[in-house]
Protein backbone atom coordinates (compact mmCIF):
# COMPACT_ATOMS: atom_id res chain seq x y z
CA UNK A 1 0.00 0.00 0.00
CA UNK A 2 1.35 3.41 -0.84
CA UNK A 3 1.46 6.16 1.73
CA UNK A 4 -1.35 8.13 0.13
CA UNK A 5 -3.91 5.65 1.42
CA UNK A 6 -2.90 6.26 5.03
CA UNK A 7 -5.13 8.48 7.14
CA UNK A 8 -5.28 10.29 10.40
CA UNK A 9 -8.43 9.80 12.46
CA UNK A 10 -9.44 11.85 15.45
CA UNK A 11 -11.48 10.07 18.14
CA UNK A 12 -14.59 11.22 16.32
CA UNK A 13 -13.15 9.66 13.18
CA UNK A 14 -12.66 6.36 15.03
CA UNK A 15 -16.36 6.58 15.95
CA UNK A 16 -17.10 7.10 12.27
CA UNK A 17 -15.11 3.97 11.47
CA UNK A 18 -17.13 1.99 14.01
CA UNK A 19 -20.35 3.41 12.59
CA UNK A 20 -19.27 2.57 9.05
CA UNK A 21 -18.36 -1.02 9.92
CA UNK A 22 -21.66 -1.45 11.72
CA UNK A 23 -23.48 0.00 8.73
CA UNK A 24 -21.74 -2.68 6.63
CA UNK A 25 -23.33 -5.31 8.90
CA UNK A 26 -20.22 -6.03 10.95
CA UNK A 27 -20.59 -6.64 14.67
CA UNK A 28 -17.74 -4.58 16.07
CA UNK A 29 -16.01 -6.35 18.97
CA UNK A 30 -13.52 -4.30 20.93
CA UNK A 31 -11.85 -3.89 24.31
CA UNK A 32 -14.00 -2.97 27.28
CA UNK A 33 -13.49 -2.91 31.03
CA UNK A 34 -15.33 -5.60 32.96
CA UNK A 35 -14.63 -7.23 36.32
CA UNK A 36 -11.32 -5.42 36.65
CA UNK A 37 -9.95 -6.64 33.35
CA UNK A 38 -9.86 -5.74 29.68
CA UNK A 39 -12.31 -8.05 27.93
CA UNK A 40 -13.64 -8.14 24.39
CA UNK A 41 -17.30 -7.29 23.86
CA UNK A 42 -19.56 -5.93 21.13
CA UNK A 43 -19.35 -2.14 21.07
CA UNK A 44 -21.16 0.67 19.33
CA UNK A 45 -19.31 3.67 20.67
CA UNK A 46 -15.77 4.82 21.42
CA UNK A 47 -17.13 5.65 24.88
CA UNK A 48 -17.19 1.91 25.62
CA UNK A 49 -13.43 1.65 25.04
CA UNK A 50 -11.13 1.64 28.11
CA UNK A 51 -10.32 5.35 28.05
CA UNK A 52 -7.33 6.19 30.23
CA UNK A 53 -6.96 2.60 31.44
CA UNK A 54 -3.63 0.79 31.53
CA UNK A 55 -2.55 -2.39 33.24
CA UNK A 56 0.18 -3.76 35.48
CA UNK A 57 1.16 -7.34 34.73
CA UNK A 58 3.64 -9.70 36.31
CA UNK A 59 3.86 -13.40 37.07
CA UNK A 60 0.49 -14.34 38.59
CA UNK A 61 -0.58 -10.71 38.78
CA UNK A 62 -2.87 -8.44 36.73
CA UNK A 63 -4.21 -5.05 37.81
CA UNK A 64 -5.82 -2.23 35.85
CA UNK A 65 -4.52 1.24 36.52
CA UNK A 66 -5.47 4.81 35.68
CA UNK A 67 -3.01 6.11 33.12
CA UNK A 68 -3.82 9.77 33.65
CA UNK A 69 -4.33 10.30 29.94
CA UNK A 70 -7.00 9.78 27.33
CA UNK A 71 -5.51 6.68 25.64
CA UNK A 72 -8.12 4.23 24.33
CA UNK A 73 -5.64 1.40 23.67
CA UNK A 74 -3.17 2.11 26.49
CA UNK A 75 -3.29 -1.38 28.01
CA UNK A 76 -1.44 -4.47 26.89
CA UNK A 77 -3.23 -7.77 26.26
CA UNK A 78 -6.06 -8.86 28.54
CA UNK A 79 -6.77 -12.44 29.60
CA UNK A 80 -8.73 -13.27 26.47
CA UNK A 81 -7.22 -13.50 23.07
CA UNK A 82 -9.59 -13.60 20.14
CA UNK A 83 -9.48 -17.40 20.24
CA UNK A 84 -12.90 -17.86 21.79
CA UNK A 85 -14.56 -15.88 18.98
CA UNK A 86 -13.01 -17.89 16.13
CA UNK A 87 -12.60 -21.20 17.95
CA UNK A 88 -15.31 -21.38 20.62
CA UNK A 89 -14.65 -23.29 23.80
CA UNK A 90 -17.70 -25.44 23.05
CA UNK A 91 -19.09 -26.19 19.64
CA UNK A 92 -21.64 -28.66 18.27
CA UNK A 93 -20.12 -30.97 15.65
CA UNK A 94 -23.17 -33.02 14.69
CA UNK A 95 -26.40 -34.38 16.01
CA UNK A 96 -27.96 -37.77 15.45
CA UNK A 97 -31.57 -38.85 15.56
CA UNK A 98 -32.43 -42.47 16.20
CA UNK A 99 -35.33 -43.98 14.25
CA UNK A 100 -35.76 -47.63 15.14
CA UNK A 101 -32.42 -49.29 14.46
CA UNK A 102 -31.33 -46.45 12.16
CA UNK A 103 -29.52 -43.27 13.11
CA UNK A 104 -29.62 -40.17 10.93
CA UNK A 105 -26.58 -37.96 11.45
CA UNK A 106 -26.70 -34.26 10.61
CA UNK A 107 -23.58 -32.10 10.63
CA UNK A 108 -23.93 -28.91 12.66
CA UNK A 109 -24.78 -25.86 10.60
CA UNK A 110 -22.16 -23.15 10.97
CA UNK A 111 -23.62 -19.67 10.66
CA UNK A 112 -20.69 -17.46 11.49
CA UNK A 113 -21.35 -13.90 12.64
CA UNK A 114 -19.68 -11.06 10.72
CA UNK A 115 -17.22 -9.81 13.31
CA UNK A 116 -15.06 -6.71 13.05
CA UNK A 117 -12.29 -7.18 15.61
CA UNK A 118 -11.11 -3.80 16.90
CA UNK A 119 -7.80 -3.41 18.69
CA UNK A 120 -6.04 -6.65 17.75
CA UNK A 121 -2.40 -6.65 18.90
CA UNK A 122 0.38 -7.93 16.73
CA UNK A 123 0.98 -10.93 19.00
CA UNK A 124 -2.66 -11.93 18.57
CA UNK A 125 -2.50 -11.40 14.79
CA UNK A 126 0.35 -13.90 14.74
CA UNK A 127 -1.67 -16.21 16.97
CA UNK A 128 -4.54 -16.09 14.48
CA UNK A 129 -2.10 -16.82 11.65
CA UNK A 130 -0.84 -19.83 13.64
CA UNK A 131 -4.39 -21.07 14.13
CA UNK A 132 -4.99 -20.65 10.39
CA UNK A 133 -2.05 -22.96 9.78
CA UNK A 134 -3.00 -25.46 12.50
CA UNK A 135 -6.73 -25.59 11.88
CA UNK A 136 -7.21 -24.95 8.18
CA UNK A 137 -4.04 -25.98 6.33
CA UNK A 138 -4.50 -29.65 7.17
CA UNK A 139 -5.63 -32.78 5.35
CA UNK A 140 -8.95 -32.45 7.15
CA UNK A 141 -9.45 -28.79 8.07
CA UNK A 142 -11.68 -27.43 10.81
CA UNK A 143 -14.49 -26.18 8.59
CA UNK A 144 -16.26 -24.24 11.34
CA UNK A 145 -13.09 -22.32 12.17
CA UNK A 146 -12.51 -21.61 8.49
CA UNK A 147 -16.07 -20.30 8.13
CA UNK A 148 -15.66 -17.98 11.12
CA UNK A 149 -12.25 -16.90 9.97
CA UNK A 150 -13.65 -15.92 6.57
CA UNK A 151 -16.12 -13.62 8.25
CA UNK A 152 -13.94 -11.25 10.19
CA UNK A 153 -12.63 -7.77 9.53
CA UNK A 154 -9.48 -7.01 11.49
CA UNK A 155 -8.59 -3.61 12.85
CA UNK A 156 -5.19 -4.02 14.47
CA UNK A 157 -3.48 -1.58 16.83
CA UNK A 158 0.18 -0.97 17.50
CA UNK A 159 1.06 -1.92 21.06
CA UNK A 160 2.11 1.31 22.75
CA UNK A 161 2.53 0.21 26.36
CA UNK A 162 3.57 -3.44 26.61
CA UNK A 163 2.97 -5.34 29.84
CA UNK A 164 5.38 -6.73 32.35
CA UNK A 165 5.09 -10.24 30.95
CA UNK A 166 5.33 -9.35 27.24
CA UNK A 167 8.09 -10.80 25.05
CA UNK A 168 6.79 -10.49 21.49
CA UNK A 169 10.08 -8.93 20.42
CA UNK A 170 11.87 -12.19 21.34
CA UNK A 171 9.37 -14.17 19.30
CA UNK A 172 9.47 -11.81 16.32
CA UNK A 173 5.73 -11.22 16.54
CA UNK A 174 5.41 -7.53 17.50
CA UNK A 175 4.79 -4.98 18.78
CA UNK A 176 3.95 -3.38 15.40
CA UNK A 177 1.34 -5.21 13.28
CA UNK A 178 3.04 -6.39 10.11
CA UNK A 179 0.39 -8.60 8.52
CA UNK A 180 -2.99 -10.19 8.91
CA UNK A 181 -5.07 -7.02 9.27
CA UNK A 182 -7.48 -5.02 7.14
CA UNK A 183 -6.61 -1.82 8.93
CA UNK A 184 -3.92 -1.03 11.49
CA UNK A 185 -4.14 1.84 13.94
CA UNK A 186 -1.38 3.55 15.83
CA UNK A 187 -2.65 5.70 18.69
CA UNK A 188 -0.87 9.06 18.99
CA UNK A 189 -1.06 11.16 22.13
CA UNK A 190 1.25 14.09 21.66
CA UNK A 191 1.05 17.89 21.47
CA UNK A 192 -0.45 17.54 18.00
CA UNK A 193 -3.50 15.93 19.63
CA UNK A 194 -5.18 12.60 20.31
CA UNK A 195 -5.36 10.85 16.96
CA UNK A 196 -4.78 7.57 15.12
CA UNK A 197 -2.65 6.86 12.09
CA UNK A 198 -4.59 4.29 10.04
CA UNK A 199 -2.84 2.04 7.53
CA UNK A 200 -4.75 -0.32 5.24
CA UNK A 201 -3.48 -3.89 4.99
CA UNK A 202 -5.91 -5.20 2.38
CA UNK A 203 -7.83 -3.83 -0.59
CA UNK A 204 -10.95 -4.29 1.51
CA UNK A 205 -9.39 -2.16 4.25
CA UNK A 206 -8.38 0.52 1.73
CA UNK A 207 -11.94 0.62 0.44
CA UNK A 208 -13.28 1.15 3.94
CA UNK A 209 -10.85 4.06 4.33
CA UNK A 210 -12.05 5.54 1.04
CA UNK A 211 -15.62 5.37 2.22
CA UNK A 212 -14.63 6.81 5.58
CA UNK A 213 -12.93 9.72 3.84
CA UNK A 214 -16.15 10.56 2.08
CA UNK A 215 -18.23 10.07 5.19
CA UNK A 216 -16.39 11.59 8.15
CA UNK A 217 -16.17 15.25 8.96
CA UNK A 218 -13.05 16.91 7.56
CA UNK A 219 -11.44 17.52 10.94
CA UNK A 220 -12.14 13.90 12.09
CA UNK A 221 -10.47 12.14 9.17
CA UNK A 222 -7.65 13.65 7.17
CA UNK A 223 -4.62 12.66 5.14
CA UNK A 224 -1.58 11.58 7.14
CA UNK A 225 1.57 13.68 6.89
CA UNK A 226 5.22 12.78 7.46
CA UNK A 227 5.41 13.90 11.13
CA UNK A 228 2.41 11.65 11.88
CA UNK A 229 4.19 8.71 10.31
CA UNK A 230 7.39 9.42 12.24
CA UNK A 231 5.43 9.73 15.48
CA UNK A 232 3.67 6.43 14.80
CA UNK A 233 6.95 4.70 14.01
CA UNK A 234 8.31 6.00 17.30
CA UNK A 235 5.38 4.50 19.25
CA UNK A 236 6.31 1.02 17.98
CA UNK A 237 10.03 1.57 18.44
CA UNK A 238 9.57 2.73 22.05
CA UNK A 239 7.27 -0.19 22.82
CA UNK A 240 9.82 -2.66 21.50
CA UNK A 241 12.27 -1.35 24.10
CA UNK A 242 9.88 -1.91 27.01
CA UNK A 243 9.30 -5.66 26.90
CA UNK A 244 8.79 -7.04 30.42
CA UNK A 245 10.34 -10.38 29.55
CA UNK A 246 12.75 -11.86 27.04
CA UNK A 247 13.21 -15.39 25.74
CA UNK A 248 16.40 -16.54 24.07
CA UNK A 249 15.04 -18.60 21.18
CA UNK A 250 18.42 -19.45 19.66
CA UNK A 251 18.43 -23.20 18.98
CA UNK A 252 15.45 -23.59 21.31
CA UNK A 253 14.00 -26.62 19.52
CA UNK A 254 17.20 -28.62 19.85
CA UNK A 255 17.72 -27.29 23.38
CA UNK A 256 14.39 -28.65 24.59
CA UNK A 257 14.68 -31.92 22.66
CA UNK A 258 18.13 -32.50 24.11
CA UNK A 259 16.83 -31.81 27.62
CA UNK A 260 13.81 -34.09 27.64
CA UNK A 261 15.29 -35.29 30.89
CA UNK A 262 16.33 -32.32 33.02
CA UNK A 263 15.88 -31.60 36.74
CA UNK A 264 14.12 -28.34 35.91
CA UNK A 265 10.98 -30.24 34.84
CA UNK A 266 10.69 -31.63 38.37
CA UNK A 267 11.42 -28.21 39.78
CA UNK A 268 8.59 -26.58 37.85
CA UNK A 269 6.29 -29.49 38.71
CA UNK A 270 6.78 -28.68 42.41
CA UNK A 271 5.13 -25.30 41.70
CA UNK A 272 2.71 -26.14 38.89
CA UNK A 273 -0.89 -26.80 39.96
CA UNK A 274 -1.84 -28.30 36.56
CA UNK A 275 -4.79 -25.91 36.67
CA UNK A 276 -4.80 -25.46 32.85
CA UNK A 277 -4.99 -21.65 33.09
CA UNK A 278 -1.99 -21.23 30.80
CA UNK A 279 -3.54 -23.32 28.04
CA UNK A 280 -6.90 -21.56 28.36
CA UNK A 281 -5.43 -18.06 28.02
CA UNK A 282 -2.89 -19.10 25.38
CA UNK A 283 -4.06 -17.74 22.02
CA UNK A 284 -2.52 -20.66 20.10
CA UNK A 285 -3.40 -23.68 22.27
CA UNK A 286 -5.79 -25.69 20.13
CA UNK A 287 -6.26 -29.04 21.86
CA UNK A 288 -9.82 -30.22 22.16
CA UNK A 289 -11.85 -33.16 23.27
CA UNK A 290 -15.35 -34.31 22.40
CA UNK A 291 -18.35 -34.98 24.59
CA UNK A 292 -21.16 -37.20 23.39
CA UNK A 293 -24.45 -36.10 24.87
CA UNK A 294 -27.60 -38.17 24.61
CA UNK A 295 -31.07 -37.74 25.97
CA UNK A 296 -32.46 -40.24 28.45
CA UNK A 297 -34.42 -42.16 25.83
CA UNK A 298 -31.36 -42.52 23.63
CA UNK A 299 -33.23 -41.09 20.64
CA UNK A 300 -31.02 -38.04 20.11
CA UNK A 301 -27.27 -37.74 20.32
CA UNK A 302 -25.04 -34.71 20.03
CA UNK A 303 -21.28 -34.54 19.76
CA UNK A 304 -19.70 -31.37 21.12
CA UNK A 305 -16.11 -30.32 20.64
CA UNK A 306 -14.73 -28.70 23.80
CA UNK A 307 -11.40 -27.11 24.67
CA UNK A 308 -9.11 -29.51 26.47
CA UNK A 309 -5.69 -29.07 28.03
CA UNK A 310 -2.54 -31.18 28.02
CA UNK A 311 -2.36 -30.42 31.76
CA UNK A 312 -5.43 -32.59 32.40
CA UNK A 313 -4.53 -36.10 33.54
CA UNK A 314 -7.13 -37.62 31.23
CA UNK A 315 -5.66 -35.88 28.21
CA UNK A 316 -3.30 -38.76 27.49
CA UNK A 317 -5.56 -41.50 28.87
CA UNK A 318 -4.94 -44.95 27.46
CA UNK A 319 -6.95 -47.92 28.74
CA UNK A 320 -6.44 -47.82 32.47
CA UNK A 321 -3.85 -45.08 32.84
CA UNK A 322 -2.40 -41.90 31.43
CA UNK A 323 0.74 -41.64 29.35
CA UNK A 324 1.65 -38.41 31.13
CA UNK A 325 0.61 -38.97 34.72
CA UNK A 326 3.28 -36.78 36.33
CA UNK A 327 2.88 -32.99 36.35
CA UNK A 328 6.50 -32.65 35.24
CA UNK A 329 5.79 -34.60 32.07
CA UNK A 330 2.70 -32.49 31.37
CA UNK A 331 4.53 -29.19 31.79
CA UNK A 332 7.33 -30.56 29.63
CA UNK A 333 4.79 -31.55 26.99
CA UNK A 334 3.24 -28.10 26.97
CA UNK A 335 6.48 -26.13 26.87
CA UNK A 336 8.18 -28.51 24.43
CA UNK A 337 5.16 -28.49 22.15
CA UNK A 338 4.82 -24.73 22.26
CA UNK A 339 8.46 -23.91 21.62
CA UNK A 340 9.97 -26.94 19.88
CA UNK A 341 7.79 -29.67 18.37
CA UNK A 342 5.40 -27.00 17.02
CA UNK A 343 8.23 -25.97 14.70
CA UNK A 344 8.44 -29.53 13.31
CA UNK A 345 4.67 -29.77 13.02
CA UNK A 346 3.78 -26.38 11.59
CA UNK A 347 6.97 -24.55 10.63
CA UNK A 348 6.70 -21.81 13.28
CA UNK A 349 6.93 -21.51 17.01
CA UNK A 350 3.66 -22.02 18.84
CA UNK A 351 4.47 -19.10 21.13
CA UNK A 352 3.76 -15.46 20.20
CA UNK A 353 5.20 -13.92 23.37
CA UNK A 354 1.91 -12.43 24.60
CA UNK A 355 2.83 -13.31 28.18
CA UNK A 356 -0.68 -14.40 29.18
CA UNK A 357 0.53 -17.79 30.47
CA UNK A 358 2.84 -15.97 32.87
CA UNK A 359 0.32 -13.37 34.04
CA UNK A 360 -2.51 -15.81 34.56
CA UNK A 361 -0.52 -18.61 36.21
CA UNK A 362 -1.61 -18.70 39.86
CA UNK A 363 1.87 -19.93 40.74
CA UNK A 364 3.61 -17.28 38.62
CA UNK A 365 5.41 -19.90 36.54
CA UNK A 366 7.25 -18.11 33.77
CA UNK A 367 8.03 -20.03 30.59
CA UNK A 368 10.87 -17.61 29.80
CA UNK A 369 12.46 -18.29 33.18
CA UNK A 370 11.99 -22.07 32.90
CA UNK A 371 13.68 -22.15 29.51
CA UNK A 372 16.48 -19.92 30.80
CA UNK A 373 16.97 -22.29 33.73
CA UNK A 374 17.26 -25.25 31.38
CA UNK A 375 19.66 -23.34 29.18
CA UNK A 376 21.85 -22.38 32.13
CA UNK A 377 21.99 -25.93 33.51
CA UNK A 378 22.32 -27.78 30.26
CA UNK A 379 24.47 -30.86 30.52
Amino acid sequence: MDNSSEMILRVAGLQSLIDLLRAQAWVVVGPTVRDGAIVHAPIESVDQLPRGIGDLQDGGSYRLRQRGDEALFGYSVGPQGWKSLLFPSRELLWSGQRDGADVAVEPAVVDPPRLALLGVRSCDLHAIAIHDRVLTERAVPDAAYAARRDNIFVVAVTCSDPGGTCFCVSMGTGPVPDRGFDLALTELLDPAGHRFLVVPGTARGAQVLDELRALAADEAAMPADEPDRLAARDVGAQAALRMGRALDVDGIRDLLYANTEHPQWEDVASRCLACTNCTLVCPTCFCTSVDDVGDLTGSTTERWRVWDSCFNTDFSYLHGGSVRSSVSSRYRQWATHKLASWVDQFGTSGCVGCGRCITWCPAAIDITAEVAAIRSRED
Partner: protein, 160 residues
Protein backbone atom coordinates in the same frame (compact mmCIF):
# COMPACT_ATOMS: atom_id res chain seq x y z
CA UNK B 1 21.61 -90.79 15.19
CA UNK B 2 24.80 -88.88 15.70
CA UNK B 3 26.93 -89.47 18.76
CA UNK B 4 26.96 -86.98 21.61
CA UNK B 5 30.41 -85.76 20.57
CA UNK B 6 29.14 -85.12 17.05
CA UNK B 7 25.96 -83.45 18.16
CA UNK B 8 27.04 -81.19 21.02
CA UNK B 9 29.22 -78.67 19.14
CA UNK B 10 26.20 -77.86 16.93
CA UNK B 11 23.94 -77.12 19.87
CA UNK B 12 23.53 -73.34 20.37
CA UNK B 13 24.49 -73.67 24.02
CA UNK B 14 27.90 -75.12 23.22
CA UNK B 15 28.55 -73.26 19.95
CA UNK B 16 32.07 -71.89 19.89
CA UNK B 17 33.32 -73.85 22.88
CA UNK B 18 36.83 -75.18 22.15
CA UNK B 19 37.45 -78.84 21.26
CA UNK B 20 39.34 -79.51 24.50
CA UNK B 21 36.55 -78.11 26.63
CA UNK B 22 34.05 -79.97 24.49
CA UNK B 23 35.67 -83.31 25.15
CA UNK B 24 35.85 -82.48 28.89
CA UNK B 25 32.10 -81.82 29.16
CA UNK B 26 31.36 -84.69 26.79
CA UNK B 27 32.76 -87.03 29.42
CA UNK B 28 29.91 -86.10 31.74
CA UNK B 29 27.14 -86.52 29.13
CA UNK B 30 24.64 -89.26 28.31
CA UNK B 31 21.70 -89.55 25.92
CA UNK B 32 18.26 -89.76 27.47
CA UNK B 33 14.71 -89.80 26.17
CA UNK B 34 11.36 -89.14 27.79
CA UNK B 35 7.86 -90.16 26.82
CA UNK B 36 5.09 -87.57 26.81
CA UNK B 37 4.14 -86.55 30.38
CA UNK B 38 7.23 -88.20 31.84
CA UNK B 39 9.04 -85.96 34.32
CA UNK B 40 12.67 -84.96 33.81
CA UNK B 41 12.79 -83.93 37.45
CA UNK B 42 10.50 -82.95 40.32
CA UNK B 43 10.52 -80.04 42.71
CA UNK B 44 12.63 -80.75 45.82
CA UNK B 45 14.75 -83.50 44.30
CA UNK B 46 18.53 -83.12 44.28
CA UNK B 47 19.56 -81.17 41.20
CA UNK B 48 22.38 -83.31 39.99
CA UNK B 49 21.87 -82.88 36.23
CA UNK B 50 21.05 -80.56 33.47
CA UNK B 51 19.55 -81.18 30.04
CA UNK B 52 20.29 -80.08 26.54
CA UNK B 53 17.09 -80.57 24.54
CA UNK B 54 17.60 -82.18 21.12
CA UNK B 55 13.96 -82.65 20.14
CA UNK B 56 10.51 -82.38 21.67
CA UNK B 57 9.31 -79.94 24.30
CA UNK B 58 9.70 -79.68 28.06
CA UNK B 59 7.34 -77.72 30.36
CA UNK B 60 8.65 -76.06 33.50
CA UNK B 61 5.68 -76.09 35.82
CA UNK B 62 4.48 -75.80 39.36
CA UNK B 63 1.51 -77.32 41.08
CA UNK B 64 -0.49 -75.53 43.72
CA UNK B 65 -3.48 -76.87 45.63
CA UNK B 66 -6.77 -75.62 44.13
CA UNK B 67 -4.97 -73.49 41.52
CA UNK B 68 -3.81 -76.65 39.80
CA UNK B 69 -0.78 -76.94 37.60
CA UNK B 70 0.58 -73.90 35.79
CA UNK B 71 3.15 -74.11 33.01
CA UNK B 72 5.61 -71.26 33.55
CA UNK B 73 7.93 -71.81 30.64
CA UNK B 74 8.70 -74.26 27.89
CA UNK B 75 12.00 -75.41 26.42
CA UNK B 76 12.35 -76.66 22.86
CA UNK B 77 15.14 -78.14 20.75
CA UNK B 78 18.18 -75.92 21.16
CA UNK B 79 17.29 -74.89 24.71
CA UNK B 80 18.75 -76.11 27.98
CA UNK B 81 16.78 -77.08 31.05
CA UNK B 82 18.05 -76.71 34.60
CA UNK B 83 20.65 -74.55 36.27
CA UNK B 84 20.08 -75.62 39.87
CA UNK B 85 23.00 -78.07 39.55
CA UNK B 86 25.29 -75.02 39.47
CA UNK B 87 23.82 -73.14 42.43
CA UNK B 88 23.55 -74.34 46.05
CA UNK B 89 21.59 -75.99 47.54
CA UNK B 90 21.49 -77.99 44.27
CA UNK B 91 17.79 -78.79 44.46
CA UNK B 92 15.10 -78.48 41.75
CA UNK B 93 12.63 -75.70 42.48
CA UNK B 94 10.10 -76.60 39.77
CA UNK B 95 8.86 -79.67 37.96
CA UNK B 96 10.09 -80.38 34.43
CA UNK B 97 7.71 -82.49 32.32
CA UNK B 98 8.06 -83.73 28.76
CA UNK B 99 5.08 -82.29 26.84
CA UNK B 100 5.74 -84.70 23.99
CA UNK B 101 8.30 -87.39 23.28
CA UNK B 102 11.56 -85.62 24.03
CA UNK B 103 15.20 -86.41 23.40
CA UNK B 104 17.96 -84.76 25.38
CA UNK B 105 21.57 -85.00 26.40
CA UNK B 106 21.88 -85.07 30.16
CA UNK B 107 24.96 -83.96 32.03
CA UNK B 108 26.06 -85.16 35.44
CA UNK B 109 26.11 -81.98 37.48
CA UNK B 110 28.62 -83.13 40.09
CA UNK B 111 30.96 -84.34 37.36
CA UNK B 112 30.68 -81.00 35.58
CA UNK B 113 31.18 -79.01 38.79
CA UNK B 114 34.35 -80.98 39.55
CA UNK B 115 35.69 -80.32 36.06
CA UNK B 116 34.89 -76.63 36.39
CA UNK B 117 36.84 -76.53 39.66
CA UNK B 118 39.80 -78.21 38.00
CA UNK B 119 39.68 -76.01 34.89
CA UNK B 120 38.47 -72.54 35.92
CA UNK B 121 38.80 -71.21 32.36
CA UNK B 122 36.34 -73.79 31.10
CA UNK B 123 34.29 -73.33 34.27
CA UNK B 124 34.00 -69.62 33.58
CA UNK B 125 33.02 -70.24 29.96
CA UNK B 126 30.32 -72.72 30.96
CA UNK B 127 29.04 -70.51 33.77
CA UNK B 128 28.84 -67.56 31.42
CA UNK B 129 26.63 -69.55 29.06
CA UNK B 130 24.35 -70.68 31.85
CA UNK B 131 24.08 -67.06 33.05
CA UNK B 132 23.04 -66.02 29.54
CA UNK B 133 20.21 -68.55 29.63
CA UNK B 134 19.22 -67.49 33.16
CA UNK B 135 19.26 -63.84 32.14
CA UNK B 136 17.10 -64.41 29.06
CA UNK B 137 14.58 -66.32 31.11
CA UNK B 138 14.61 -63.77 33.94
CA UNK B 139 13.99 -60.89 31.53
CA UNK B 140 11.17 -62.76 29.84
CA UNK B 141 9.67 -63.60 33.23
CA UNK B 142 9.86 -59.99 34.36
CA UNK B 143 8.07 -58.78 31.23
CA UNK B 144 5.41 -61.43 31.66
CA UNK B 145 4.91 -60.21 35.24
CA UNK B 146 3.44 -57.08 33.64
CA UNK B 147 0.58 -59.18 32.28
CA UNK B 148 0.80 -57.01 29.16
CA UNK B 149 -2.07 -58.70 27.41
CA UNK B 150 -4.31 -58.65 30.46
CA UNK B 151 -7.09 -56.12 31.02
CA UNK B 152 -4.73 -53.47 32.39
CA UNK B 153 -2.55 -53.57 29.32
CA UNK B 154 -5.33 -54.05 26.85
CA UNK B 155 -3.14 -54.15 23.79
CA UNK B 156 -3.89 -52.29 20.67
CA UNK B 157 -6.40 -49.57 19.89
CA UNK B 158 -9.15 -50.23 22.36
CA UNK B 159 -8.76 -47.44 24.88
CA UNK B 160 -12.15 -46.50 26.25
Amino acid sequence: MRTIEQYLPDHPFFAGLGADAMSLVGGCAANVSFAADEFLFREGEPADRFFVIRRGRVAIEVHAPAAGTVVLDTADAGDIVGWSWLVPPYRWLFDARAVEATGAVTFDGRCLRDKCEEDPRMGYELTRRVIQVMSDRLVASRVRLLDLYGAAGAGHAAPR
